[in-house]
């Protein structure tokens, strides 16, 4: 089920909220578990069993790892947990990728498996892994109540598109959590603004990207409009989803960590990755990069560590070579920054370092969105004016005019400017009073406008659902 659907907003969510706040505390996790299973099963009924299997296996593994703590058995069960989780992920997400590559290299014609990717599998696999690894590391205790563990895994606000919530971060809240009007207010506001980012901005930007892809001949301008629009779309799509997840989590008494922190204002690629999809970045840092030795190793080993981490980051996003290249581009840029230009960049005028980051991030997302590497190369080449291609044409100018305001609003929305303005207004006493009246009005108008867009919608995918 999509957050940005009438079914979720006006059927599922109100019913779940009514039920959740009507039952006594000890039944709240049952309500969340049951509703989360419906939420997941709504789109993927058959994969509920796969998820249930994963939960039961890791529930047992968690207990076994804890019971045999500091023995070889604990390590064995941990390795079993990693293999089991990654085995499932590998089968459903990467099997066909490997078969295709084997066929290409060897000339064989092994048949592809006819399997669909279970929605959100990359997210919940990483969440489950964080649980067993943290139990092994004794950073948390094994969960004895399977309902609590299942609730953690299937919790619908963050189930299918993150943020990747670590068990240790919400372990206490799973046992006991508080609810308040303050949390409701924050949660509602965050959810509606996240929904607005998704429906009003990301979907509109997505339209122009789709139009571009359907166009056979484009001008340089249209390539840039597409590249910028897609970079903005993926940000608003994903950060909007994270906002909705965090907002809903708050209403249900959970505190999910932030996933985005204005990544497009970064002045270096390393800063960009400290601000973009933070839950994935920290997951790879804590469960892969640091165990590999991090940067406290020889330079050659450190380079290998970076390459491994970023190749896997790329592959996590999708089973295709363009995602691997996308990850490797960031590995290369991070190495260049660390080894050669990092210090010099600090002395550069701000706008130059911003342009450097934005240029490479935009190029990276062109690679990310391409169906093949050849397509990515063609698009990047055309952006740079390579080939006999017009600079502008009637079509590119039309879409620039038609989506200009959305692009400008989106660019402003990527910066902390709106938040700073609101904070400044709130410091004025009388303005703050007005804001109390304005806040619900803005939220209601946004909700109605979003509903209007959904009622008349034809374009509403969540980009991160495919991961």
């Amino acid at each position: 089920m999509l957050f940005s659907s009438i079914t979720f907003l006006y059927y599922f969510l109100p019913l779940v909220l009514i039920l959740y706040f009507s039952v006594p505390k000890k039944l709240k996790n049952w309500v969340l578990l049951f509703s989360s299973l419906i939420f997941y099963g709504w789109g993927e009924p058959k994969y509920i069993l796969l998820m249930a299997l994963s939960i039961v296996v890791h529930y047992i593994l968690g207990i076994l790892i804890e019971r045999h703590s500091e023995t070889k058995k604990a390590k064995f069960w941990l390795i079993f947990s990693v293999c089991f989780s990654l085995g499932l992920l590998g089968y459903f997400k990467y099997a066909n990728f490997f078969i295709r590559n084997i066929n290409e290299v060897t000339g064989l014609s092994i048949s592809l498996l006819s399997i669909a990717l279970p929605v959100g599998i990359s997210f919940y696999t990483f969440q489950i892994l964080s649980y067993t690894i943290d139990v092994y590391r004794k950073e948390t205790k094994a969960q004895k109540n399977i309902v609590h563990l299942a609730t953690y895994v299937v919790l619908f606000p963050q189930l299918i598109a993150g943020p990747i919530v670590r068990y240790v971060d919400i372990a206490a809240a799973l046992e006991s959590r508080s609810h308040s009007l303050e949390k409701w207010r924050y949660g509602l506001r965050r959810f509606i603004f996240g929904l607005g980012k998704k429906v009003l901005l990301a979907n509109s930007l997505g339209e122009v990207c789709e139009i571009f892809k359907k166009t056979e001949q484009s001008a340089v301008l249209f390539y840039w409009i597409y590249a910028i629009a897609f970079s903005l779309q993926i940000y608003f799509d994903f950060s909007g989803y994270s906002d909705m997840a965090i907002g809903l989590g708050k209403i249900f008494g959970f505190e999910f960590l932030e996933n985005f922190n204005y990544p497009y204002i970064s002045r270096s690629i390393s800063e960009f990755w400290r601000r973009w999809h933070m839950s994935l970045g920290t997951w790879f840092r804590d469960y892969l990069y640091i165990p590999l030795g991090g940067n406290r190793v020889k330079k050659s080993r450190w380079i290998l560590n970076i390459v491994v981490v970023w190749m896997l980051t790329g592959l996590w996003h999708g089973a295709a070579w363009n995602f691997v290249i996308w990850g490797m581009l960031f590995a290369l840029l991070l190495m260049i920054e660390k080894l050669w230009i990092g210090k010099a960049m600090g002395k550069l005028p701000k706008f130059i370092s911003h342009i450097y980051v934005l240029f490479f991030v935009i190029i990276s997302f062109v690679i990310f969105d391409a169906a093949t590497m050849a397509e990515a190369v063609e698009r990047i080449g055309s952006m740079l004016g390579i080939g006999r291609i017009k600079v502008t044409d009637i079509q590119s100018l039309y879409y620039l005019r038609s989506y200009g305001v959305i692009l400008i609003l989106s660019i402003i929305g990527c910066t902390p400017l709106p938040k700073l303005c609101i904070e400044r207004i709130r410091r004025i006493k009388w303005a703050d009073r007005i804001m109390v009246i304005l806040e619900p009005i803005i939220c209601i108008v946004m909700l109605l406008t979003i509903t209007a867009y959904l009622v008349d919608a034809s374009f509403n995918p969540f980009l991160y659902f495919r991961f």
């Binding site: 009007l181 207010r185 209007a452």
Partner: protein, 368 residues
């Protein structure tokens, strides 16, 4: 104001609106059709284990929830206003407004589709007409965008390329260019179609090519429909466009003609005025979409027959050519498979006219 009160006021006001909207969704009886969108609305899907496990129930429910949302048209208007006025976008659902005209962005040119249409027409020619002596003609109806889009900065398909592809792939047909006798004013403001009362020049040009100019009297009385006409773009754009007037042209010959609908086995007049009160008043012309119609003209000067392969644009033009023929057969291969046509139509040296509009040619997958 204390924080607690602020929180209570804000949460209650948002929550109340949300609850009211949700409650309306739950209790509102389902509507059958959307008049403005001219389509049936999705109904609550059947709840069965089979549909549940296959996911069909969920897909159906999503569509139902979207279609049956209370005040759907008002919300669609809100979206259109937001796009046009808040975000300064140039179109909504691909409909743009230029001056008084609402038009659809018909672009880019889908060459594969045009070639596919040409192949389909060639197939018909080779199967039914190759060994006949009748003359074969082709005429293409440009959509409104031909006169409106590029002149005003909107992207449009390469019309010349479209015309050339068809001309080159249909060398068996004589091409009648009507683009030079049409202008923007010949189209409805809010609809895709052309106005019948403005088609005299088009009718004359086609009649001249068909060799029936002399039979055409050109004397018609324009009858104003007694209902306001809201074209298809009114509903699609969801903007408050003004209604317009619909006229149909009559004379004694047209009045005496009878239209036999092969599919329904019913006979009706050329103008089915009952249709003026249906969801699309344009259906007044030859009763709207039908796979196969046979028009008999008892007052024809000569025993001459015409077969027209056509889309909805033909419905308003063909009545103006009736004087030249004793029998006109109208075939719409969007609704009848070309292979079965021989079971219903005898090709016997009649004149044949392929009359298709650019939007249909550019999405020719609909041709069977």
């Amino acid at each position: 104001m204390g924080e607690k009160i602020k929180n209570t006021v804000i949460v209650l006001s948002i929550g109340l609106i949300w609850c009211i909207l949700a409650l309306f969704c739950w209790i509102k009886p389902s509507d059958e059709i959307s008049i403005s969108e001219r389509r049936k609305l999705e109904q609550l899907p059947e709840f069965k284990l089979q549909t549940l496990l296959s996911g069909k129930f969920m897909t159906g429910f999503e569509e139902y929830a979207q279609d049956q949302f209370p005040h759907r048209f008002m919300l669609r208007k809100l979206k259109a206003y937001t796009r046009f006025y808040a975000f300064a976008q140039k179109d909504n659902n691909n409909i743009y407004i230029e001056g008084d005209y609402a038009a659809k962005l018909e672009y880019p040119l889908n060459e594969k589709s045009i070639l596919s249409a040409a192949d389909k027409f060639r197939y018909l020619y080779e199967k039914y007409m190759k060994d006949q002596k009748g003359n074969i003609y082709l005429s293409i109806v440009p959509d409104k965008g031909y006169y409106l889009a590029s002149q005003n900065g909107y992207p449009s398909m390469d019309y010349e390329q479209l015309f050339n592809i068809l001309k080159n792939h249909m060398e068996f047909a004589e091409y009648i260019d009507i683009s030079d006798v049409l202008e923007l004013e010949d189209y409805y403001y809010t609809d895709i179609h052309w106005r019948q009362e403005k088609l005299m020049k088009v009718a004359e040009k086609i009649a001249s090519a068909l060799g029936i100019s002399e039979e055409l009297s050109g004397n018609y009385e324009a009858i104003e429909a007694d209902v306001p006409f809201y074209g298809v773009y009114y509903g699609q754009s969801a903007l408050p466009l003004e209604h317009e007037k619909l006229y149909y042209l009559i004379n004694d010959i047209i009045n005496d003609c009878r239209v036999y609908n092969v599919e329904t086995d019913k006979t009706s007049p050329v103008y089915d005025t009952m249709k003026l009160h249906d969801k699309d008043p344009y259906d007044v012309f030859l009763s709207g979409a039908s796979p196969l119609l046979i028009v008999d003209n008892p007052n024809a000067a000569k025993e001459k027959e015409l077969i027209v392969f056509r889309d909805s644009f033909g419905s308003s033009l063909i009545p103006l050519l009736l004087e030249g023929y004793s029998k006109v057969t109208l075939v719409d291969i969007r609704y009848i498979t070309s292979d079965y046509l021989g079971e219903f139509v005898t090709f016997d040296n009649q004149d044949v006219l392929f009359l298709y509009s650019t939007p249909v040619l550019n999405s020719s997958a609909v041709l069977k």
